[in-house]
Point group: C2
DNA sequence: TTGTAGGCGTTATCAA
DNA sequence: TTGATAACGCCTACAA
């Protein structure tokens, strides 16, 4: 890749490299005459300053890193988009790193981003190894992560808790007594863990019994087995009147399982999930959801970081749309009621 | 951010910076003794070479850029993941750039990536301004884009065409005569344009009539209007027996519209879409789809690029899973038959 | 096998 | 307002 450098521009413009730098970066004085000639020369040579060279001098790489727990779950797409758009607006490039929910991978990713000397790091969701982040943060790298950011905003639970509360109240008012919370893996981790804690607490407050049902990791699940499991669960004596999916992707699997098992929604069992999407709304019965705007959170986080980097004067009050409970037809009266 | 540099490591190890560089990069000779001391020193100072400094010397930034037409459509997530995983495997960082389907934004994004001196660019889907890419490519930057890559693999149509053909054959065998292809915007662009062309051709071959129905851009659409439009369309005399969504996100909107309008699937109209997902499979009736593996395509593209960069010896035969037609219950016999 | 030294493309300092 | 110059952190040809 052959590219013009600052010397060529200086030569063409008939000035020194210092002047070229001043004109194009806008830092430091420059006569109208010089400005014009430099602009013309740069234009003609289609010159663009090398960010890596300038960052060597200025110690600002103009790169923001985003660490994502997985690029398989679509919920992180709005997050990524939020970061990208805000960063882009302020001239920053964005490096994505997928930690694949592995400490090992995360370590490599953080090393790689450190090597690139990113100016700041934005962490989506739950990082596999929070200590690694704390260490990085201690070394002076500006870091924002969903958890502590949400806490600063009044606490994640400040928004998620009430939404869950409203859902539980709704369920209780419909005569339900037991709620089964479905999660993947062999133990709820990350977002699922927090959600489970909040549901448990809220259920208690509303006189509901909450049970956690673990379905094993993605690879181990298949529609037929899921169907059998769900069918047996729902139809067992004293089975739950409500199925609550702890994640949006899981919900689709569960719905297919229920359909295969011939379980009628919401007559036999009520259903709700975290995370909204056009598909959840299109489903019949339409699926009730707890929904937040991860994209807006990401934008707010990015603005906060940009502020710390001095790239933006002041951050507009991060008034985040709170999480909401959207009751739809998949939640109905208890069959016992 | 305070970081150790090569001089400090050299000082601690009691060797010269050249030796440090040689040991840590693995290029050039180094005695076992020196190697050991340098490793220890680097470790103690938690030293990591600055990619921006080294790239200034070596002209390799170890960054690959990905240009995506939009980060709103989830189909690009598997793509992004494919690139990220392969790049990461070979020590490359990935910069994402969302062109937001705008030439203007795309230009800024390309400029930014050029400024960062990315080693290669991978373009997902259809770029707003192909000429800009051609210019970049001409300037020596290795670029792979979905279109030309697929062509090199035997042509995109080589895989997509036959899948569409099978769908059309299936539809024809069920007695259908007319197919309405639904698309957003005011003219099919990007993937939708190609899909429409292929459908049109294939329909003709199977004695089907294909009509393009444009629904306006995302902002202008709402469930109620969509419902009215679809209801009128399906129930008009001589209306289409088949609704074919040109994109996966659109399908959910259409399904909600159909549900609102009370259109029965597949009795009143058959339905199919491009792009599969757990939600499409979970829907009842299960939605028939034309599905390809964009993630695998992305991985193959990345491997090709890495090969060009000399980061990988040889690329394994990119045997891509071809696009397939998955017939499910949303496609049924024509009501006329 | 090792060290010295020059230069990658920029920007900041300082003297003019 | 401008230009010469040093320095950012690293790699590598070359000399030892």
């Amino acid at each position: 890749v052959v590219r013009a450098d600052i010397h060529q521009v200086a030569a063409v413009a008939g000035v020194s490299t210092a002047t070229v730098s001043r004109v194009l970066s806008g830092r430091g004085p420059a006569s109208a005459h010089a400005t014009e000639r430099v602009r013309a020369a740069a234009d003609r040579l289609s010159y663009a300053p090398s960010a890596r060279a300038s960052s060597l001098r200025t110690d600002r790489s103009m790169i923001i890193g985003v660490l994502v727990p997985t690029l398989s779950n679509p919920v992180f797409l709005p997050f990524l988009r939020g970061v990208e758009h805000r960063a882009q607006d302020h001239g920053y490039a964005v490096i994505v790193a997928d930690s694949q929910r592995s400490e090992e991978v995360e370590r490599r990713q953080l090393d790689r981003m450190a090597a690139q000397r990113i100016d700041a790091l934005i962490v989506a969701g739950w990082a596999p190894d929070p200590d690694a982040l704390r260490r990085l943060s201690g070394s002076g790298l500006p870091i924002v992560d969903t958890g502590t950011f949400a806490d600063a905003m009044g606490g994640m639970a400040a928004s998620l808790g009430p939404a869950i509360d409203r859902a539980c109240a709704h369920l209780a008012s419909l005569g339900h007594r037991t709620v089964a919370v479905l999660a993947g893996g062999s133990a709820p981790g990350g977002a699922a863990a927090l959600r489970w804690r909040l549901i448990e607490r809220s259920c208690r407050a509303h006189g509901l019994e909450a049970d956690l049902v673990l379905l094993g990791s993605v690879g181990d699940r298949d529609p037929v087995t899921t169907a059998r499991t769900l069918g047996a669960l729902v139809r067992s004596p004293g089975g739950p009147g409500v199925l609550w999916s702890s994640s949006h992707p899981l919900a689709a699997e569960l719905l297919e399982g229920l359909a295969v098992a011939g379980v009628a929604l919401p007559e036999e069992v009520s259903f709700l999930t975290f995370g909204d999407s056009p598909w959840a709304a299109a489903y019949r019965p339409a699926i009730s959801v707890i929904s937040g705007d991860l994209g807006a959170v990401a934008e707010a986080m990015t603005m906060a970081v940009l502020h710390r980097l001095g790239a933006v004067e002041s951050v507009p009050d991060p008034v985040l749309e709170p999480d909401v409970y959207r009751a739809r037809s998949s939640v109905g009266p208890s069959r016992a009621a």
